[in-house]
């Protein structure tokens, strides 16, 4: 006889664990399957953890050693091969303990913390166990098939919380193949003593910095972005690039990471660092057309598996959306449990609540920006370089033959000439209009 439970959850990432916690608290029997040795052992992200949802359920998390530093500086930078133009936001007056709800983190540490909370609430965590597919009967999902002796587990509802590469949603027929718009993230965690990090990045105590590097010289002008986040005594350094763009670039991803690390601007921040761990993972960036159905009979899809990320030049969010969707899915299942009905129709309040929340609205709103980036490669392979050239022209201090200096007026004219000759006012204007439209609608 196959084992039975109320809810079988595939994965033990942030989305899974918070859902398991709420369901177990609600008195349901929950089994969470994780293919790794421990939660977080197969997971990687940039990463800044956004803790809005987390703090409501686990207000004490900042003291639990599960996060690294709270972010006080967000810096956006454009790189050419040798130069940088950057915009930095420093916010020093957000209040403890949550500050701006942005904490750098490492997944092998954080995911274990959250899964432990679910276990303490009564959920059962089964590690080192891959779920290969859902069990279907008469068109509805009735359980999961794990790859082990006696691995069939029947459940009223299955939660597909298996992340970007969701084979579970696919096995349930809720989605097709992933598109080439999904992003490959490649990163290294490099070590540096905490005092040196604090000194180098101008941080006090547990303050942290999040630097984003756009287009241009970050990833050879491809549509993609580099990042650098300070942890306690390590730095997370890496980049993300859509598979389609990576394929066209034709450079080995591990070499591209070394190139980014050795960019003259980035290299200076990484002096004296030693790589501790290399990693790579997909970010499920896709259009609504490629998204899975969020519910089926006896199954719900959450977090990365549901394609819920806000990944574009401005934002890199996903952990918060995973936890939010986990909460909404769990609350829906608790209601369905009371009613004793687990059909797609009975579970429908999960997607409808989701669509009213930031998790869907942010995805939806910034979709335009991401699509715009895809159709306007010049924002990555041309404008960063040109913009830096302009800044360089304007800020160059140029001697003249007679021992004096070129007047600023001449530099301004050179800038104006460059804009007219190289960029073309018309096409630049149209591109900026497209960008503004994408950002606004």
């Amino acid at each position: 006889m196959a084992e039975r439970c109320d809810v079988a959850i595939v994965g033990a990432g942030p989305g899974a664990s918070i859902a398991a916690y709420i369901l177990a608290k609600g008195g349901l029997e929950v089994i969470m399957f994780e293919r790794g040795d421990y939660p977080g052992s197969k997971a990687m992200f940039g990463g800044v953890l956004y803790t809005t949802v987390l703090s409501k359920y686990f207000p004490d998390f900042p003291g639990a050693n599960c996060v690294e530093r709270h972010v006080i500086e967000k810096r956006f930078s454009m790189l050419s091969e040798s130069d940088e133009v950057a915009l930095s936001f420093k916010f020093l007056d957000f209040e403890p303990p949550y500050y701006n709800h942005s904490f750098t983190a490492l997944r092998a540490i954080f995911d274990r913390y959250l899964a432990k909370k679910a276990e303490e609430a009564g959920a059962v965590l089964v590690t080192q166990t891959v779920v290969d597919e859902v069990i279907a009967s008469e068109g509805r999902v009735v359980g999961v098939r794990a790859r082990r002796e006696g691995g069939e587990v029947l459940a009223n509802v299955v939660i597909a919380a298996d992340g970007a590469n969701s084979l579970i949603a696919q096995s349930a027929g809720l989605r097709g193949e992933l598109p080439l718009s999904v992003i490959l993230g490649v990163k290294e965690v490099v070590s540096l003593p905490r005092e040196v990090i604090e000194d180098r990045f101008s941080l006090e105590g547990d303050e942290g910095a999040a630097y984003e590097y756009l287009g241009g010289g970050a990833v050879r002008g491809a549509m993609g972005a580099g990042f650098l986040y300070t942890n306690r005594d390590t730095i997370s350094v890496g980049y993300g690039i859509p598979l389609g763009a990576l394929k066209t670039l034709g450079v080995q991803p591990d070499e591209l990471l070394n190139e980014f690390k050795m960019h003259p601007v980035v290299r200076r921040l990484l002096r004296g660092t030693t790589p501790e761990e290399y990693s790579a993972h997909l970010i499920p960036e896709m259009t609504p057309h490629d998204l899975p159905h969020f519910v089926g009979d006896g199954i719900v899809v959450i977090g990365g598996a549901a394609g819920l990320v806000n990944a574009n030049p401005l934002f890199h969010e996903g952990t918060n959306m995973a936890m939010a969707s986990g909460v909404m899915a769990a609350e829906t299942i608790l209601q369905a449990h009371k009613a004793g009905n687990f059909s797609a129709k009975a579970l429908e309040s999960y997607p409808s609540r989701l669509r009213e929340s930031f998790a869907w609205q942010d995805y939806d709103r910034y979709l335009g920006l991401t699509r715009m980036a895809e159709t306007h490669p010049q924002f990555f392979n041309k404008y960063p370089y040109e913009f830096i050239k302009l800044a360089r022209k304007l800020f160059s201090v140029v001697p003249t033959d007679d021992g004096m200096q070129v007047p600023k007026r001449a530099l301004e004219l050179a800038v104006a000439d460059h804009v007219l000759a190289e960029l073309g006012l018309m096409s630049l204007g149209l591109d900026l209009l497209d960008a503004a439209k994408a950002a606004m609608f």
């Binding site: 891959v130 490649v186 540096l192 002096r271 660092t273 790589p275």
Partner: protein, 118 residues
């Protein structure tokens, strides 16, 4: 002041800032892999080429330039080999292969790659 006299900041600095001013250490593909704990399920490849005939006709061979640990190599006879035991389970090759010619599944529980940081 004589050149060999230590400046007060060198003496006072407990972390020896001077020790952390050299260029960042870079690792090649093999050394990057060596930073990871990988338990190989000997004899049970979780990745397989379905049909070498399809690879022979595949002109772009995108698997060879997108795997983050360079696990795909084209041999002299034109066949494509997967070095599956050093797979870090990212899922890229499954999506990038234009002909869905890779049979792809996760390594069994207890095997494959483990992150200590993530």
């Amino acid at each position: 002041m004589a050149a060999n006299v230590k400046s007060p900041s060198d003496i006072a600095n407990p972390t020896g800032l001077a020790n952390f001013l050299g260029p960042p250490k870079l690792l090649g593909r093999d050394d990057k892999l060596a930073t990871l704990v990988i338990k190989v399920d000997e004899g049970n490849p979780h990745l397989k080429i379905i049909d070498q005939g399809v690879c022979l006709k595949c002109i772009e061979k995108p698997c060879t330039v997108t795997c983050p640990v360079e696990n795909y190599k084209v041999e002299d006879n034109g066949h494509t080999t997967i070095y599956w035991s050093s797979c870090i389970e990212c899922g890229t090759c499954r999506i990038i292969c234009p002909f869905q010619n890779i049979s792809w599944r996760y390594p069994s529980g207890g095997f494959g790659m483990t992150y200590r940081y993530g």
